[in-house]
């Protein structure tokens, strides 16, 4: 038996990464970035893509929020709410590892 897994909850110190079964790939046919997972292909919008690209297993959520706020010249609090909600949703679907 393996150890019981638990649901991960996003915190500022989480360091998200993409699990092995998920990858971002540029599709030259459709001129867009696709997220490939076992049964589904996602077509993330620009902001989602910017979050996912920073899920590199090195950057903390705190850092990702600061970076995006700078890039988009936006209020970090607003960015934080969006990033946390997005990462929690993707983690709950096992598409992002926290």
């Amino acid at each position: 038996m393996t150890a019981q897994r638990e649901r991960a909850i996003v915190s500022p110190r989480s360091v998200p990464s993409l699990p092995r079964h998920v990858r971002i790939q540029h599709d030259p046919v459709r001129q867009a970035f696709a997220v490939l997972s076992p049964e589904k292909v996602f077509w993330p919008n620009e902001i989602s893509l910017d979050i996912l690209r920073r899920c590199d297993g090195r950057s903390s959520v705190e850092r990702i929020i600061a970076d995006l706020a700078a890039d988009y010249d936006a209020d970090p609090q607003d960015v934080a709410a969006d990033v946390v909600a997005f990462l929690q949703e993707w983690s709950d679907k096992l598409l992002v590892k926290l």
Partner: protein, 381 residues
Amino acid sequence: MSEPTLPPIGMLAELTHRCPLQCPYCSNPLELLKANRELDTQTWLDLFLQAADLGVLQVHLSGGEPTLRRDLEQLIAGLSARGVYTNLITAGVGIAEGRIEAFAEAGLDHLQLSFQGARRVTTDRIGNHQGSHEKKLETAHRARAAGLPLTINAPVHRHNIEEVPEFIDLALSLDAERLEIANVQYAGWALANRDRLMPDLAAVNRQADIVAAARERLAGIMTIDFVTPDYFAIYPKPCMGGWARDAFMVAPDGTVLPCHAAQTIPSLRFERFGDRKLAEIWTDSPAFNAFRGTDWMREPCRSCERREIDWGGCRCQAMAIAGDAAATDPACVKSPIHNRMAMLTDAAQAEAAPEGNESFIFRRIGSPQRDPTRALEPARR
């Protein structure tokens, strides 16, 4: 009115019809192809490259049992080198030592392993293969040890629908990321065995509640995909995401098909890869264009607000039950013969044999059993 033809995203490659199991709900056609009809390695590799050029991002390597192809490592490597996402769909029985590791090394992205039951006795009986459950457990462990992400696939019918909670526990214990609770789709061998497999309404409802509760409980722990049972549905599924809309499949001999059961539609002629380029088949083949988009639809589909949600449902189910491939899928509540679905499920219950005494028509190469009188003979082991 008609939208332009989009490039396909997914391709299901049925590399072989050979299989060590004999599941009575197999989605392969009744007339199975022998090994001598299979495409060779180079032809599959050419096909994969053409598919990638056309826009395919994911290839599902299936069968039959795809690991019976001795060149599977080579096929995976070819896809991987081209950046195509590879998903191996296996029964997990009889995979030689070292091969799962070789698949992982070749670049396999994901492995999907079927379990015919959550209990040893069920798995062995439904696949008609003694000891298969044990081998599947071993395959799951080997896949995880090789670092491969794992989906457990559980095809559900009357004889294992009460095992759904156990399937969930099994998938968790095997460290799967994903579980598919897939109610059997009644095409291919499943259609021939429909009366022997159809669950009853009470069991279907219990199952739906169990899955809904488990999904909530297991958010962030394991994903559960639920393929709902058509015969108890209100609206049909968008079969294949719509006919020839974003996916297709290829039979072992290279015949390119919009779906598993498309060859049951007698008015259609299908083309083989090799005779024509894949892009031409996808774009121009009359069979692919027959039910593409919405122009082919009649009422009640034509004016339905769901026409671009479910794309008229399943053409093969319309063929099988309404006798007309262009009819509304009878799974839809708006179909004039929707009540036939309930009649068929009721009839199946009336025919139900005591548990353990079913006379399944087991899936075998070289024994197509189209004659319904032969279907009543008990299967010999």
